[in-house]
């Protein structure tokens, strides 16, 4: 009773491979590769310039292998296929033209794309390897003036919006992986919510890596104009391969006056096997700019997958009275490593931020919270509250907290609290003596530990997240 030990993990059920013919380019990265990608996507000149500029920056940068609390063998960037698309033109008039094999794949993942089966009230953009294969509810959204489409489509249809916003939140020279993404990204989602519109449904992108040799480099750009509102969800899975695969995405959010963007992620990339063989390197840059007054950006993430997670969804609070939020549950098991957290940069007056981070480490995994709260001299009345809790299951894992707090304004109020503990024996004992099995009791306690984050998730996702967490730790405590 006194020892809570991790035994095994339940099978990763999304680990299948879809047998589909792909259009691939040769592996390796050079200016020619980038020109080839740009050409394949039939991009306007400004996109090629953007890519090349990013690539030249990338060449001068160094991979951030020293400061994060993660370790992995050097990635061979010449051994990756930077473009892989299912053979068939992805510009489709209707769902009927989508390869049935793809529809089946997404159905198997719980994301039905055909009209009659579509999820009620959730519009989905499905991204398979390098390209978007289908976007549902496009027409309905258009009626409200909402643009929701693949990034490639947006480049052609709305070049002026792309030109105006792309790279303004995450510049091409921001960091190593963002620069790489800017050079080679192949697709992603684009969302534009016009002035005064409240998006009538949840928008969602589902990412699927299928090809064992390719990396996934997608780009998401969400713009919420004055007084608009949108809630966006993101999910992802990948087959089980022995080889590590790189996923380097960039997400940029822009919120103008009185706008609100809620961005939720349930990340369940393949995490590798129990010995840490295989799995996705999830090196992601996510950042939102609260440009307008009273704007709000809220990040919610449930991170359960990936061999390595390196991501810090951030908010730049420029507009006066703007609000940034970050709610995170990060679960690591077996040999997983996670170094994740957030950055809240307070620039405008009376800006507020709230950070709730819950880390759970099991097996021989390592889980770190790394965060920055920065209050600049002009941020009168800025306010931050941070709560970081860690739960350790077993004595071979690690839990770390690295919060940076930099305050240059005396009217600011910043609070940070962190605790680390294991599942309390008293709580377990109480539940056990009520006749609840050990496993259910642990699951109940863990779900309670994460409640502050789960309740920020949209309904469907909250259920999914709880199930996922239970599944990840199932059979693991005895």
């Amino acid at each position: 009773m006194s020892s809570i030990e991790l035994l095994t993990n339940k099978e990763y059920k999304y680990g299948f491979v879809t047998d589909i013919e792909s259009d691939m380019i040769p592996r390796g990265l050079s200016e020619d590769t980038i020109r080839l990608i740009s050409e394949k996507k039939n991009e306007p000149e400004f996109m090629l310039e953007f890519r090349l500029k990013a690539y030249r920056n990338w060449l001068k940068m160094e991979e951030p292998q020293h400061w994060p609390n993660i370790s992995y063998p050097k990635v061979d960037y010449q051994d990756i296929i930077y473009y892989s698309a299912p053979k068939q033109k992805p510009t489709l008039a209707s769902m009927d033209e989508v390869d049935p094999e793809l529809i089946k794949t997404f159905e198997k993942l719980g994301i039905p794309l055909t009209e009659q089966k579509q999820l009620a009230n959730v519009a989905v953009d499905a991204v398979f390897d390098s390209v978007s294969v289908a976007t549902t509810y496009k027409e309905k959204l258009k009626k409200h003036g909402v643009i929701f489409c693949s990034f490639s489509e947006a480049v052609h249809e709305y070049p002026e919006l792309i030109k105006k916003y792309l790279g303004t939140v995450v510049p091409t020279n921001d960091n190593y992986f963002a620069a790489l993404n800017s050079a080679v990204f192949t697709d992603g989602s684009f969302v534009f919510i016009p002035k005064g519109v409240r998006c009538p449904m949840e928008l969602s992108t589902y990412f699927r890596i299928n090809n064992s040799e390719s990396g996934q480099f997608e780009r998401t750009l969400i713009i919420a104009e004055e007084n608009s509102h949108v809630s966006y969800l993101e999910g992802c899975t990948a087959p089980k391969f022995d080889k590590n695969q790189l996923h380097a995405a960039v997400v940029e959010l822009v919120a103008l006056d009185d706008a609100e963007i809620k961005y939720s992620t349930v990340q369940n990339w393949y995490a590798g096997d129990e010995e840490g063989k295989g799995g996705i390197y999830n090196f992601v840059t996510k950042r939102g700019a609260c440009r307008g007054r009273n704007s709000k950006i809220s990040w919610t993430q449930v991170e359960t997958g990936s061999a390595i997670t390196w991501k810090y969804p951030s908010c730049i609070l420029q507009g006066d009275n703007s609000i940034g939020e970050f709610y995170s549950v990060a679960l690591t098991n077996h040999a997983q490593q996670a170094d994740t957290g957030t950055k809240m940069i307070h620039i405008g007056k009376n800006t507020r931020s709230n950070i709730v981070s819950k880390g759970i480490s099991a097996g021989k995994s390592n889980n770190s919270y790394r965060g920055l709260v920065k209050v600049l001299a002009g941020a009168e009345g800025a306010r931050n509250y941070t709560q970081c809790d860690s739960l350790l299951i077993g004595d071979k894992c690690g839990a770390n907290t690295f919060p940076y707090i930099e305050v240059s304004n005396n009217t600011a109020k910043v609070e940070h609290e962190a605790t680390t503990s294991r599942i309390s024996e008293e709580q377990l004992f109480y539940l056990r003596q009520r006749g609840i099995s050990q496993e259910d009791a642990v699951s109940l306690i863990i779900n309670g530990f994460c409640k502050d984050v789960f309740r920020e998730l949209p309904m469907e996702f909250a259920v999914e997240a709880q199930r996922l967490l239970g599944m990840k730790l199932e059979g693991s405590v005895g």
């Binding site: 400061w67 005396n410 609070e415 609290e417």
Partner: protein, 445 residues
């Protein structure tokens, strides 16, 4: 990372002169230790802000400061009266150093309990306790040490040894006073303190730093090592009130044996740039430490505290409370790491850093860190940065207090938690005075 050669060579010149002067006076191991340390310093130089641990503190002014290591003399005109102002009356024995050089005429060691040794290094090197110094000082140099630690070891010459044999109880505090006095060239001094408390012994150490005359510009680079034996208890106060033109870099390292208790309280009032690195290693079961401090800084001052509480054994406890009051254009840095090793089950580690910003030009960078590799632990840390509570102010003002007075009262109250902890009346008074002076200065502005 490596500084320009001209800077280094001024230390090298002084170093070579010191080595040849001491060639026959000191044991060979000291000379060897110094040579290794000097080479290490020349190799790594002073840390720069590129190093994570020095990210918020720029020591460029020290590297460029043209400080000269003091060989002899300077401050000789100081009288017993001048020194008296800096003595803690509670202490019955004391060692006084002026610009790093031991001054027997101001020191007193005759009232010590049997077996307890309080001696300056020159005496210790020559006497029967040379072996104590050798076994604790002559260790292979730690590759983790920074340039300041290396430089201190390179200039190891003057210092204080406090040795408590098994069961010895030094009931009255022992004071180690390091005064800086104006010198021909701005002085670089390298105090070194070694405290060895063998099993079941107990002592209270007051380590004070002050400037004898007004605005003297000096560079103090101190290293203090404390070894707390089984069931031994060491209370340690570090009071730094050097001139606001001074540079003060200090390292305090403690190692605790089974059930040893170490209680450190640091008070930082002076220096334009101060940095205090603290490392406490809870090496055996049941050890417990308190590491508390208060920094009170105003315009032109920068105070940095870096601590590492290293839980390497099971059932140890650590408590840490650091409070900062920042006024004017001042800056404070706090970095507190708690490291819990795989085997250190049932660790209880608490840490808190609270900062009060009185001016809109003050800046705080705080980074409390937890690194935990054992599961059965209770670890918590917290950090806050803020100003006085409007509601509390309103309450006092509504009772008829002038706003400024109300502010001062609340500020004083913020520091009170730490002031109260101090068991030595004279330090408490000094601190009270310093806080009140700072607050009065505000009233007059």
């Amino acid at each position: 990372m490596v500084q320009a050669t001209t800077e280094k060579s001024s230390y090298r010149t002084a170093f070579d002169a010191m080595q040849s002067a001491d060639e026959h006076a000191l044991p060979a191991w000291v000379l060897r230790l110094r040579e290794t340390a000097m080479e290490r310093f020349e190799h790594i130089g002073f840390p720069t802000t590129d190093v994570e641990d020095w990210k918020y503190t720029n020591t460029g002014a020290i590297a460029k400061g043209a400080f000269a290591p003091v060989a002899a003399g300077a401050g000789e005109e100081l009288s017993a009266g001048d020194v008296g102002a800096f003595l803690a009356p509670e202490a019955s024995s004391r060692l006084v150093f002026v610009n790093g050089i031991y001054r027997a005429e101001f020191s007193a060691t005759e009232n010590l309990p049997a077996g307890v040794v309080v001696a300056d290094f020159a005496e210790a090197f020559a006497g029967e306790h040379e072996s104590v110094l050798r076994s604790y000082l002559a260790r292979p140099s730690d590759p983790e040490t920074d340039g300041f630690n290396a430089l201190n070891a390179a200039f190891l010459r003057e210092g204080a040894l406090v040795y408590l044999p098994k069961g010895a109880q030094a009931t009255r505090p022992i004071q180690l006073l390091f005064l800086s006095a104006p010198a021909a060239q701005a002085a670089a001094v390298f105090p070194r303190v070694l405290v060895v408390a063998e099993r079941e012994s107990a002592a209270t150490i007051i380590e004070s730093y002050a400037s004898a005359a007004g605005e003297s510009r000096s560079f103090t680079n101190a290293v203090v090592e404390v070894f707390v034996g089984e069931n031994a208890r060491v209370m340690h106060y570090k009071v730094q009130r050097e001139s606001e033109a001074a540079f003060h870099i200090a390292t305090t390292n403690a190692k605790l044996e089974r059930s040893g208790v170490y209680d450190l309280t640091t008070i930082t009032l002076g220096a334009q740039l101060s940095r205090h690195g603290i490392g406490v290693r809870l090496a055996h079961e049941g050890a417990e430490c308190w590491v508390d401090g208060l920094y009170l800084v105003g315009t032109g001052q920068h105070a940095d505290t870096h601590s590492l509480i290293d839980h390497s054994s099971p059932r140890c406890a650590s408590h840490q409370l650091y409070k900062g009051i920042l006024d004017g254009k001042s800056r404070a840095v706090f970095n507190g790491k708690v490291f819990v090793h795989r085997d250190a089950q049932q660790t209880d580690a608490q840490q808190s850093n609270k900062n009060l910003l009185l001016s809109n030009e003050a800046r705080v960078d705080t980074k409390p860190q937890l690194e935990i590799y054992a599961d059965d632990v209770k670890c918590a840390h917290g950090a806050t940065v803020g100003q006085l509570e409007e509601e509390e102010l309103f309450y006092l003002v509504s009772r008829g207090l002038h706003t400024d007075l109300a502010r001062n009262l609340l500020t004083y109250g913020f520091a009170e938690e730490l002031v109260e902890k101090i068991r030595i009346e004279s330090i408490k008074q000094q601190l009270d005075e310093a806080i009140l002076n700072r607050l009065h200065a505000r009233l007059e502005v």
